[in-house]
Symmetry: C2
Subunit: 359 residues, 2 copies
């Protein structure tokens, strides 16, 4: 079943972040959203657009860095030319999503939903139903966040503490507060209560509500975003004056304190593909060795984990459990799923050496 | 101190074997003796020639496959052109060393010593003294083998069971028998007796003695070798009629039974670099991660073992102990030192696939 289009609803797709923990696949000049990390034949960005298209048609705004504008347009070539907003520099999520809100306010969009370009979702139908519920609440003025059902006590995500159901919206709950990434024991306590959800940064809201909430905290910030939307030629001049702040801190947390945030619990199989360990889980490598790429290039004997033959060379792996082998034309990574987080340290070391060609 | 030249003594260097357990460094068309496996700047073949040259000057005969003749000549370009004998096909060590013996018999060499092209020796001075002792005994008609002092109970080598000292040669002992590769417990028993040595296939003998010992077992074999030496043009015609047999079985074992074999115990640090585990030990990787090649290409975090950055690409390794990572332009190997023996299975699988380009 294809989901019904939701009238007046726009999708905003922030496409940023280098994904350094997925090096050497993901690079500054070729970040993870541009890659097919699931072996589906579609990149994460393309999958994101595919998932949203039934809900919004071509009412999509992608916000990305200027360096990636052409690559994004090439991957989303069926969208209108003005569907891609290019940021002159990276200024965190409030500026990116806020600019989209200001542009959509002028286009008289009723509701917008922000969905990152580099997340993976398993059950697209359940996702669509969740978004529809979120849009219904957002039409009434709520800032609505989608609360992902936690599958384990992760210390890698922030959590949403949910309260009572919203009147007239049985599937929607008030948000008591957002909490920062907890320790694993604290996360276990959260899970035991059944009242905490992962914060995946998916916000559904009327553009004007979002900008007005921002204006309550930082009037100049909201005014500047609206000024850019009114006069796009002033983007380059005004952009660098914007604060670098996440939308969570700038708007969502204060709004939750003020009782203006709601959440729709979502159980549709979500992954932010943070590192090769989570990618391995996503691809089913817990039981076997998963090959992301041309399987005929690999020779595996007694190996489990994830192998990415990405240079055309033969890759042989013998006798290693939970291994991560990523072969690219100019760099090779060998590590374990347990140490996959430390890949970012390699990227930092290469940057220190001035190897911008590799990072 | 440079060792004294030994008059009338010739070195024979069998340069054969693909070294499949050192894949992807070692290949059929580029076997391990052509590689600098110790990071010394000299290949194993060059190191072998360097080690023998003080003892023999340019009285060297290398026996290699026709496919490697040019590469061997290039590496040993200071030797006379007739220093390299090319075998039309591989017919095991008796044919290779026997042909050298027949050629040297005609050149009136007094004594020959056979030393493989792909072994590594730590203490060259001690090696030279051992060879000199062996030559002295060989002049009296003994087939002399050098018995390597075992450093552990290896099940990868055959052993030499040594008996009493030879009269007039305090450093030389009679050989009771050669024994095949034992199990580790049996090897432990051998070591406990103090009377067993590793058989490294180093034979020192008068050419005529060797050929006559062969003739006792297989008169036609010896006669054919002498015929080829007399008429080198008949090599191609006669070579393929020779039996495929190791010198140990063809000559050394029956001669030991007949009481005609002596051994000189050698304690000079010997390694046949059989696989990446032994290479790692040789290069001191027991304590750290050894890099064979351009160290600046590697980024290692919490890794021990051996890393070979052989393609010019950056190689990052995180959180793996006793790992083996071998990066070449067309093939990559990732395994552990404990599983290093199984590399030959990868080579077999590639051969089954017809990937002669990679094997």
């Amino acid at each position: 079943m294809v989901a019904d289009e939701i009238p007046g609803f726009w999708a905003v797709v922030p496409a940023g972040g280098a994904g350094t923990r997925l090096w050497p696949l993901s690079r500054s000049r070729s970040p993870k959203f541009l890659h097919d990390l699931t072996g589906s034949g579609r990149t994460l960005l393309e999958q994101t657009a595919d998932r949203l298209s039934p809900l919004v048609g071509d009412r999509v705004l992608v916000v990305t860095g200027e360096a990636h504008r052409d690559a994004v347009r090439a991957q989303l070539h069926t969208l209108p030319e003005d569907a891609v907003l290019a940021e002159p520099s990276a200024r965190d999520s409030m500026a990116a999503i806020g600019l989209a809100a200001a542009v959509l306010e002028r286009r008289e969009a009723e509701v917008m939903g922000s969905f990152a370009a580099d997340h993976v979702i398993g059950d697209v139908e359940a996702f669509s139903r969740t978004v529809a519920d979120a849009v219904a609440a957002a039409r009434e003025g709520w800032l609505v966040t989608i609360g992902i059902e936690p599958t384990f006590a992760s210390s890698a995500f922030g959590y949403i503490h949910q309260g009572d159901a919203l009147e007239g919206h049985p599937g929607v709950r008030r948000v008591v507060e957002f909490v920062e990434k907890p320790s694993v024991p604290v996360a276990e306590e959260y899970l035991a209560t059944g009242r905490y959800r992962w914060n995946a940064g998916m916000f559904v809201v009327r553009p004007t509500v979002l900008l007005d909430l921002l204006a309550e905290q930082d009037p100049a910030f909201a005014a500047t975003l609206r000024a850019i939307a009114a006069e796009p030629d002033r983007l380059a001049e005004l952009w660098d004056t914007l604060p670098r702040i996440a939308i969570d801190h700038a708007v969502a947390e204060p709004a939750a304190t003020a009782g203006k945030v709601a959440t729709v619990p979502g159980g549709f199989g979500w992954d932010d593909v943070g590192d090769f360990d989570s990618l391995a889980t996503l691809l089913g490598a817990d039981e076997k060795c998963t090959v992301l790429g041309e399987e005929s290039l690999t020779h595996l004997i007694g190996a489990t984990g994830i192998v990415v033959p990405g240079s055309g060379r033969v890759v042989a792996v013998i006798g290693l459990d939970d291994v991560v082998v990523v072969d690219t034309p100019d760099a090779l990574l060998v590590t374990t799923r347990a140490r996959a987080q430390e890949v970012k340290n390699i990227v930092a070391a290469l940057k220190d050496q001035g190897r911008t060609d590799l990072t």
